[in-house]
């Protein structure tokens, strides 16, 4: 009974992502901020790994993520924490190493809990409409790499 993922583009700079999880928000917050937990789920398409996941969870502290494709290509990103209010709110800047988003984007993650279930709302604000649409396109590329067969297999395991 997980609430379906929704992705919305309410204006020309934002992507808003909503998803519910069957756990209290303390735990979801941990999974967003503790490196050993983040590494276990934020790995992207099948075959990709997350060799680097460093988090200095302080306002002004840095985090750094690196993903590696099955072909051995690295994609890195990182940024600075701007607001940390466990277990309800996390605001961070993010820039990809290739900077294809044309400057820093700001991600605000809000966790609300009801009856032991947590809804995570992530609002990503891009520096330009072109940057936002580039992010949507990259999602498409990765999705295509996954292939529908992999996706079906994954869906059966949950």
């Amino acid at each position: 009974m997980t609430q379906k993922l929704t992705v919305d583009t309410p204006d020309d700079l934002k992507i808003v992502i909503t998803r519910a999880f069957a756990s209290p928000r303390e735990r979801v917050f941990d999974c967003l901020t503790k490196p050993d937990l983040v590494k276990r789920w934020m790995t992207g398409p099948p075959g990709w790994t997350m060799p680097v996941c460093e988090i200095d969870l302080r306002v002004g502290g840095q985090y750094r993520y690196v993903w590696r494709s099955p072909e051995g290509q690295d994609m890195g990103m990182g940024g600075t924490y701007k607001e940390i209010t466990p277990p309800e709110r996390l605001v961070s800047g993010e820039v990809f190493d290739e900077d294809w988003t044309g400057g820093e984007t700001v991600a605000t993650q809000v966790l609300t809990e009801r009856d032991g279930r947590t809804t995570l709302t992530t609002t990503v604000v891009y520096s330009s409409t072109a940057a936002r649409d580039a992010a949507l396109r990259s999602g498409m590329t990765e999705g295509m790499e996954m292939g529908y067969e992999n996706l079906d297999a994954l869906l059966e395991t949950v």
Binding site: I17, F21, C31, L37, W41, M42, M140, G143
Partner: protein, 121 residues
């Protein structure tokens, strides 16, 4: 006017930019129920016909609507293809995210079996 080349990045950028405005989304929602004249489109909005025409120009440029040939009325109708393509982009982005979140579901499930360390509250 040049025809939009659908499916190219430029085409998608124009689609998303055109969709980013609530009035334009409302116009598209109205047109989904059938074609309408500019006057009919302007009626539910607290907006002049020229203001509505401006929004229609943006939508037309993005290929989201077209105008009929009837010189008097020039009915506006919605064009489904660019909307479907914008949806396809969003859908694939959604799939990538969902793969991550399904692993997070599994992880949270696993954490339930591990006693929580006492939390300072």
């Amino acid at each position: 006017m040049e025809l939009m080349s659908y499916g190219t990045p430029a085409g998608l950028d124009a689609t998303f930019a055109a969709l980013a405005d609530p009035t334009r989304r409302a116009i598209l929602a109205r047109l989904a129920t059938g074609e309408a004249s500019v006057g009919e489109l302007a009626a539910p909005f607290a907006m002049s016909q020229p203001a509505i025409s401006k929004h229609l120009k943006v939508l037309e440029k993005a290929g989201l609507v077209s105008r009929g040939r009837d010189a008097q009325r020039r009915p506006v109708r919605v064009e489904a293809k660019p909307l479907a393509e914008a949806n396809a982009w969003l859908e694939t982005y959604r799939r990538t995210l969902e793969a991550n979140y399904q692993r997070l579901d599994a992880l949270l499930d696993e954490l339930k079996t591990i006693p929580q360390p006492p939390q300072g509250r």
